[in-house]
Amino acid sequence: MCLVITAFAAVITTLIWYFKAHNENIKFSMLVLMYWGATLMWVVDGFFSIAKGEPFLDLSINDTLLGFVIVLCGLAVWLFVLLYKDPKNVFDFLKGAHKQTPTDINKNK
């Protein structure tokens, strides 16, 4: 189920990227590629499972839960990168505080 959930997340994010969020600034393509990368890797894992005589998909509740955790982890990484890159310059005031020269501080006083 982990593979199915990640593949589903990959398809949904691709559609969102195509129709709504193809702007490079918000780094949405990173999330899309991340899910596709993981999906491809799990597909390979699935085929090797078949070779070992195991099923291609693990349909247990544990694996389903893992799938949701994986999707959340992907979202968390994307959110972290987005906030770090700060495309809308929301955290400019923080950067400004670091760049303040002694003259600026005196002026503020």
Binding site: Y35, W36, A38, M41, V43, D45
Partner: protein, 142 residues
């Protein structure tokens, strides 16, 4: 056991290559008298820069190996203390682990790279089509 380490290793190598290509592209831009902020303009005329295309591969490799690492942590195959891979604790498990990296891991890395090559081909095709269309438009205008 540790199949994600093969794509992870490829991700590290590709990231280093990407940094070098980025440097070269920036140097080429500055040599041709273009500002690095004008990359977007360059893209419109000569397609997507290769550093960005290689970025697609790095994102798939880093992202995929990260999410697979989460799965391994979930199954208790990766732990936050040395030697990090639980298979390393038992000498009998080391051989199968290395075998898994060499077979499953390498296949994962190869499949992701193959998909990226297909993406490159599609991108090139779209760029060529765009160039042809713009050439036709110019000919009609002329």
């Amino acid at each position: 056991m540790a199949c994600f380490t093969a794509p992870l290793a490829e991700a590290i190598i590709v990231t280093i290559i990407k940094k070098r290509i980025e440097k070269k592209e920036k140097a080429t831009l500055s040599l041709s008298g273009k500002d690095s902020t004008k990359i977007a303009e360059t893209e419109n005329h000569s397609g997507i820069p290769f550093s960005r295309k290689i970025g697609w591969l790095t994102k798939m490799l880093w992202g995929g190996s990260f999410l697979l690492a989460i799965e391994h942590i979930w199954h208790g195959e990766v732990v936050p203390w040395a030697p990090f891979l639980t298979a390393m604790n038992n000498p009998a498990d080391i051989q199968p682990m290395l075998m898994e990296i060499a077979t499953v891991g390498v296949t994962m890395a190869l499949l992701v790279t193959a998909v990226w090559v297909v993406m490159l081909a599609v991108s090139k095709h779209l760029e060529n089509r765009k160039e042809k269309n713009s050439a036709c438009d110019k000919a009609i205008e002329g």
